[in-house]
């Protein structure tokens, strides 16, 4: 249809200038948005003397990374974060899948009320309830464990909601066919529902991993020692106490912390962006 529409008579000059201004504004904004990261790369790969002295001929060095790595137990922090993120994601996938399936397909008394209880978590997140959750963890004897960091997030209201929406899209006929083939309830869930919701799982997984990789306040509150601290808390401790203001080393440590997610994002940009989109449309 657009082939037959006549060229639209638009005042040419103003739009052209307008377009130039807009492009310039867009790029200026983009520059501001990427500047901190560009700066981190600059500072991390040059010696401290060049931290605020931008000389294109400055020699490159990896020493800052070595210094950061040796100054704090980043290896241990990486391991802790990796264990934490994996544990949370595994817990979320299992718990949310089961709960979402029950909400999507079984009509049972009280399901509406229970689902409303789930939705409460979209507004009242565990992030806000740190004082009381700390008390609970102390009662359970879990303070200063990685399990304590993850436990409040495993039954995710957001995950249950997202998967329930996905499961409701699955045609009933497929479920009936599977039942005729002799599948039990769990078999139907695993063979019919879960495979069909794969894009939603990817979307939810990526948002969950980046959220918990970056989460700070609750881990800060509940951990006290190197053996349990995730990267974010480790980085904060490192930057505030050990380092003074050696920007080169702090930048190197900052890049180390962000590197896995950043690399993942650069390599799988399309999937990342689409996943965040999917997780947002509900």
């Amino acid at each position: 249809m657009s082939a037959t529409t006549a060229p639209i008579p638009n005042p040419v000059i103003p739009t052209r200038i307008g377009a130039w201004v807009e492009t310039a504004a867009a790029w200026l904004l983009g520059l501001v948005w990427i500047a901190p990261l560009l700066y981190a790369f600059w500072a991390a790969f040059h010696s401290t003397g060049y931290a605020a002295h931008f000389d294109p001929a400055a020699p490159l060095t990896f020493e800052n990374f070595a210094a950061a790595w040796n100054a704090a137990p980043f290896g241990r922090y990486f391991l802790n974060t990796f264990v934490l993120v994996t544990m949370i994601l595994a817990g979320q996938l299992v718990l949310c899948t089961l709960a979402a399936f029950a909400f999507a397909r079984a009509a049972f008394p009280g399901s509406g009320f229970l689902f409303a209880l789930v939705l409460v978590q979209l507004m009242v997140m565990p992030d806000v309830l740190i004082v009381e959750n700390y008390r609970t963890m102390r009662l359970l004897g879990l303070v200063d464990t990685i399990l304590a960091i993850g436990l409040p997030y495993m039954a995710s209201g957001f995950g249950i909601f997202l998967l329930r929406q996905a499961f409701r899209q699955v045609p009933k006929e497929l479920e009936e066919a599977a039942r005729v083939e002799g599948c039990g309830t769990l078999g139907i869930l695993m063979r019919v529902y879960v495979p069909l919701a794969r894009p939603i799982y990817l979307a939810y997984g990526l948002t969950s991993v980046s959220y918990h990789w970056n989460n700070f306040l609750w881990p800060l509150v509940i951990t006290n020692q190197v053996e349990t601290r995730p990267l974010t808390v480790g980085l904060a401790v490192f930057a505030s106490t050990d380092q003074g203001i050696d920007w080169a080393v702090i930048s190197a440590a900052t890049l180390l912390t962000a590197a896995p997610l950043l690399l993942g994002f650069l390599l799988f940009q399309r999937q990342f962006v689409q996943s965040f989109m999917r997780a947002g449309i509900r």
Binding site: W33, L95, C96, I130, E132, G157
Partner: protein, 291 residues
């Protein structure tokens, strides 16, 4: 058969519901309960005092400052981040030069940890030596400014970091919504001879309504929840100029170990979040009537 299906449903729900109740609903109720008692100390158990913790809070000037700061912080970050997100989405969705690169630049802050980001911005804000002061000196001839150390600029500096972190994240949702608008609508507007501004306000913006509501809800929650950068950059200072409700809860609960007052303050925060939820619900209701 029916009761068996119900039993299955309950079994599948049970693990998630137990954790949800234990770490979301129970703590919300327990916070209220504990806000009515004194702090238990070694020799004295907690004593019921009714609303006294709340009265103490009302008489606490830091509470009022944190509340005011938080409202200013919300009133600044929410429109700025949502407005910028919309502009970014429109640019990246249009035929702008290098839009893949731009989209990446806008979105990158989303995947960086707030703590890492705070370290980098700390350098940008450093007086005299930092990048912002060098820019303002070169372009405007200003002297050194202690951006996060001065009462007047500290909260604004925190707002800037939050907007920078969030706008790209919100952009994604606008981008998804823009791509879902059928091109025929814009073609129709063009045939009618509508200007770009008119098309935007009459066609695009109304269709982005539900997305905007979703983004707004997220922006409101973040304005009260996301304080990582403040804890690292200013710890609420200087002289409480950047204290927000959440940083004050952290301070009361884990630095002064005054969990009773912290509980009362948490109730205030929960009340604000409940108000936001109610507002969202009302707006949704209105929208359905409107349609």
């Amino acid at each position: 058969m029916r009761s068996r299906a119900t039993l299955h449903a309950w079994l599948m729900l049970a693990p998630a519901m137990v954790l949800l109740l234990a770490f979301t609903h129970y703590p919300a109720v327990a916070t209220f309960w504990h806000s009515l008692f004194t702090m238990p100390r070694a020799a004295r158990p907690a004593r019921f005092i009714g609303a006294e913790n709340y009265v103490a809070l009302l008489e606490d000037p830091i509470f009022w400052q944190a509340l005011t700061n938080n409202l200013i912080y919300a009133a600044a970050t929410i429109p700025l981040s949502v407005g910028l997100a919309l502009a970014m989405a429109l640019w990246v969705n249009g035929r702008i030069a290098g839009r893949t690169l731009l989209r990446m630049a806008y979105f990158t802050p989303t995947v960086l940890p707030m703590i890492a980001v705070a370290n980098l911005w700390l350098f940008f804000y450093t007086p005299d030596y930092g990048l912002i002061d060098r820019l303002t000196r070169a372009l405007l001839g200003w002297g050194p400014t202690n951006w996060i150390g001065a009462q007047e600029t500290a909260l604004g500096a925190m707002v800037a970091v939050a907007v920078w972190k969030e706008a790209g994240f919100f952009m994604i949702f606008y981008l998804a919504a823009l791509q879902a608008i059928p091109p025929s609508l814009h073609e129709a507007a063009a045939v009618e001879g509508a200007s770009r501004a008119r098309t935007f306000f009459r066609v695009t913006l109304p269709l982005l309504g539900p997305t905007t509501l979703f983004i707004l809800v997220n922006a409101v929650i973040n304005a009260f929840r996301l304080v990582d950068h403040i804890l690292v950059m200013t710890r609420g200072g200087p002289d409480n100029a950047t204290a927000l409700l959440m940083t004050y809860i952290y301070e009361l609960g884990f630095r002064f170990w005054d969990t009773a007052t912290a509980a009362a303050l948490t109730m205030v925060l929960l009340g604000l979040l409940a108000l936001a939820a109610a507002a969202q619900f009302l707006m949704l209701e209105k929208r359905t009537h409107y349609r």
